[in-house]
Amino acid sequence: MPAAYPLPSDLSPATVTNTASLLRIIALALISGAAIASRLFAVINFESIIHEFDPWFNYRATKVLASQGFYEFWNWFDPTAWYPLGRVVGGTIYPGLMATSGVIYNLLHALNLPVDIRNICVLLAPGFSALTAWATYMFTKELKDESAGLLAAAFIGIVPGYISRSVAGSYDNEAIAIFLLMFTFFAWIKALKQGSAFWGTIAAVFYFYMVAAWGGYAFITNMIPLHALVLLLMGRFTGRLYVAYSSWYAIGTLSSMQVPFVGFQPVRTSEHMAALGVFGLLQIVAFAQLVRAHVSSKQFQELLFAAVISVGLIGFFGIVGLTYKGWIAPWTGRFYSLWDTGYAKKYIPIIASVSEHQPTAWPSFFMDLHFLIFLFPAGVVMCFRTLRDEHVFVIIYAVVASYFAGVMVRLMLTLTPVVCVSAAVALSSLMDAYLDPSEPNVEDDKNGSSTPHSTGTTPSTALATSKKTKKNKEKEASAPAGGVLGELVSNVTSSAVAAKSATTAERGVFGMDTRLIVLLNSLGLLLFFVVHCTWVTSNAYSSPSVVLSSTSPDGSKNIIDDFREAYHWLRQNTAEDAVVMSWWDYGYQIAGMADRPTLVDNNTWNNTHIATVGKAMSSPEDIAYPILRKHDVSYVLIIFGGLIGYSGDDINKFLWMVRIAQGVWPDEIQEPNYFNRGEYRVDSEAAPAMRDSLMYKMSYYRFAELFGGQQPVDRVRGQHVPIQGPTLDYLEEAYTSENWIVRIYEVKKDDVLGRDLKIANAFDQGKKRKRTKPMSRRKSISA
């Protein structure tokens, strides 16, 4: 059989195997290095700082864990959150993340490495991304071979869809959850393939870790039963499936119930019922199989078949009935809104208001996954070609996750691993076909198909050396190189590679130019992918959002540090028990950086409390003031981007405050009142309710003074704000940060003479008192 390019033939199979495994290890190490390094943009561009909102709470909880020990953390009651209700932290969080960094912290300190807990928190996500790459490698290896595994590891190492949630400083549950997700799936596949209770237990242990770490564990809870059910329907029930599923479900469920936040949910809520139902179904089917093996009567077998179906139906209706009776809680809103996409907007605006719960437009897919997004369907087709049990898993995962990712931006995270895996399968199949040096023998293709394995041997050994020269290429290139080796080594060792073994001689590529053009195109794609990922990571996903930066026309960088400036002011200048009211987005940051009690925070468990804040923000001053006083609020903090054009400010979020308040007080707050003929405006045409609202007044208070008589411009909305700005009677400005992003107002105490503050203010300004009675509402409060 002719070869397209010459290969050395003086290498022993042992050398090839060893070199291949060495190269694999090197490639994995390089991939890990790239995965960690590309996540450090945030640290290099800014500093080692915790990002965004939720991580600040996780960081605060981890500090408690590290400084006061595990039991203190477990029983921690936080009186400063959700003032005056407080929050039982230990029972309302997934403690896996904090426990992980606590363990690392204690380990390093035991080794006399005094690393600051903050640095552990900041670098936890990059560290775990390296583990994710490894878990993805193991998973993909089960699907195809090592070469595809290395490609998949390289993809997930640098793909923006995963980086977006795991840059240094993004200390959130997702940081470790994707590793746990991939490893649980790997262990499940392994357990299923081997029928091994050991691997089933490993899967269960990692499932437990996942439950302890992220609310998204429900994805595993439903993916594995779905896979088992589909295998059952395909007639692929085996003892292996039974052992794997039963060991995973029994141990996994029992251990997951040990997490206090989960508790009895696995037997009481609909999200977990699929797993229970499939568990029951498998028992019935297994029992029927057992009985059938021992009886031969045809009639009895038919009876058995009917019995199985009827028991299954009884079980199904039993679960439905229990749900109806209220013994089993129906789907939670967050989960339900994935199916009925209009549900959240109507009934739970607080879920719909979160920006990461919005549906995904196509540019986001391309931005986050680049060329993987179209290799992904090709990879799914390759899975259909082989269609072993584990390929069925990837296919189900692909369909389910692409739907979820379309419904919610944040679920792009669960789509990313399967895209990487199946894209790697497709690309490695392509590489296999075009790197293989053997050419088909057209002259005597009758004889050509005689010994496929022996023909594979010579070229492969040669390729190993020819590839070594290319070893110092960059990482992307090394992945396919290692991959090809893996493929060829598996030919050498005659291990079964299902797709290839029989057809090697019939299929093959003629000539070098065909090979080169296809491979160059693929290499170009890979290079473009690397460049794209680097650009996206450095530009879009590495901003801590606590510190902002802007670029001046001359290219120099401006750091906008208003948030920390204002939080620091709060910490230094206010009483330690001064309650700060803000919209819930900033609750964790205020608690973490300013260390002051807050009314509401990002743990949005109490809708009414949030609606109260929404009502205070969207009502006129005299209605808002009693609310503020009743809640002991001393300071009100708002975010205003109108001066420097920061679009994530409170005026842009204001409508959600109105909507959430409207959900609780429909006859006091009505969204249409905040529109002027259907337009949301802040200029002189703004709706009266808008102009009178506390939020509007606080945002634009003294804004006009900055413009020295000119017409002031709001840079976010692009509208001209009236020169005559709003006045405040019940609040006074306490602090405004450098770029006006954070504005803090102090709530005035009662007037010393018992007057209404509005009247007292008017008196101070020397205005004549109007002939109106003081509001009766005020009296009832001071009483």
Binding site: F376, G406, A426, A433, V509, T514
Partner: protein, 312 residues
């Protein structure tokens, strides 16, 4: 000043029946099966400034000449809610009225209220009696949740003495069609069984689903994005936005790209003729490169800050 005139105009009615305004309304409501068909006179009766009842008035324009499609869409919902109210206990029922006023029956009322569009629902709170509301201004229903009866009943229930006993009617047609589908499916199951067992049928479905989903189909569904923009523009401006047609174009581009890879992986190496294989390899590589360039250029339109481009 207007008041005596109104009373005069109502005189014949009230004289004939010698009933108070409230009793008249009760009779009207009973006659209309819970819904009062208003005209200018009865409107003033219902919305009289001294009332110890509340009322939900539906303003509409059902005359085909008015060409008010939303009115036609909303009318059954309002009627259903009004009918549901007729089943409320008597002592509560008479404290709240449902009424509808067509534009052609009451130009003057529409003019007086300055209503420029229909349909609309105003709820007038009682001004006298034990239930008198502090607020004088009518509540205006905002159609935020569309024209369905469910949300309407829910929102109006805030203003009625007791919640409106509205239940969504059971969809018999749908249930019937589902039930009738069962024997049909089981009948033809034998014929479609080989189709269902064919893996490539499932593969086609899977690929189609993932292509459509990753092209932003759910975005257009949830946001109700139009198929095309104004002036025939089919690419929406902005990174977080897209039109319906973009879904098709992007899904097609992804499909061609995935297909070109599949051809290179599966079909091309199987060719036994060298020339044919070479042609195919070049062709599909070219298609791949070209489509990818197009995709990148499309992405640059959505995200103008994107610095990379291929040949296009």
């Amino acid at each position: 000043m207007l008041w005596p005139l109104l009373v005069l105009s109502l005189l014949p009615l009230s004289l004939a029946a010698e009933k108070s305004a409230h009793e008249q309304l009760v009779d009207l409501a009973a006659a209309g099966n819970g819904l009062i068909q208003l005209n200018e006179q009865t409107y003033d009766l219902l919305a009289s400034p001294r009332r110890n009842w509340s009322a939900a008035v539906h303003f509409t324009a059902l005359n085909p000449q008015r060409r008010c499609a939303p009115c036609k869409e909303f009318e059954p919902s309002f009627t259903a809610v009004a009918k549901a109210w007729a089943n409320a206990p008597k002592e509560h029922r008479d404290k709240h009225f449902f009424a509808t006023l067509d534009f052609d029956d009451g130009h003057a009322v529409f003019q007086k209220l300055g209503m420029a569009s229909a349909p609309g629902v105003h709820v007038y709170p009682p001004t006298e009696g034990p239930d008198a509301s502090a607020k004088k201004a009518p509540f205006k229903y905002d159609f935020q949740n569309g024209f369905e009866a469910g949300p309407l009943a829910e929102q109006l229930s805030v203003h009625t003495p007791i919640p409106i006993p509205y239940k969504a009617p059971f969809d018999w047609a749908r249930a019937g069609s589902i039930v009738s589908l069962i024997p049909i499916i089981s009948l033809i199951f034998r014929f479609i069984k080989p189709v269902l067992q064919n893996r490539w049928v499932w593969a086609t479905g899977t690929i189609a689903t993932s292509l459509i989903m990753t092209s932003g189909y759910m975005f257009t569904r949830i946001r109700g994005a139009p198929y095309t923009g104004p002036n025939g523009a089919w690419i929406a401006q902005g990174y977080q936005n897209q039109y319906g047609q973009e879904v098709q174009v992007i899904a097609m581009v992804y499909g061609i790209l995935a297909g070109s890879f599949l051809m290179l992986i599966v079909v091309t190496p199987r060719q036994l003729s060298a020339t044919r294989q070479r042609t195919q390899a070049y062709l599909w590589t070219a298609v791949n490169f070209l489509m990818f360039s197009i995709l990148v250029s499309l992405f640059r339109i959505k995200n103008p800050g994107y610095p990379f481009k291929l040949i296009l």
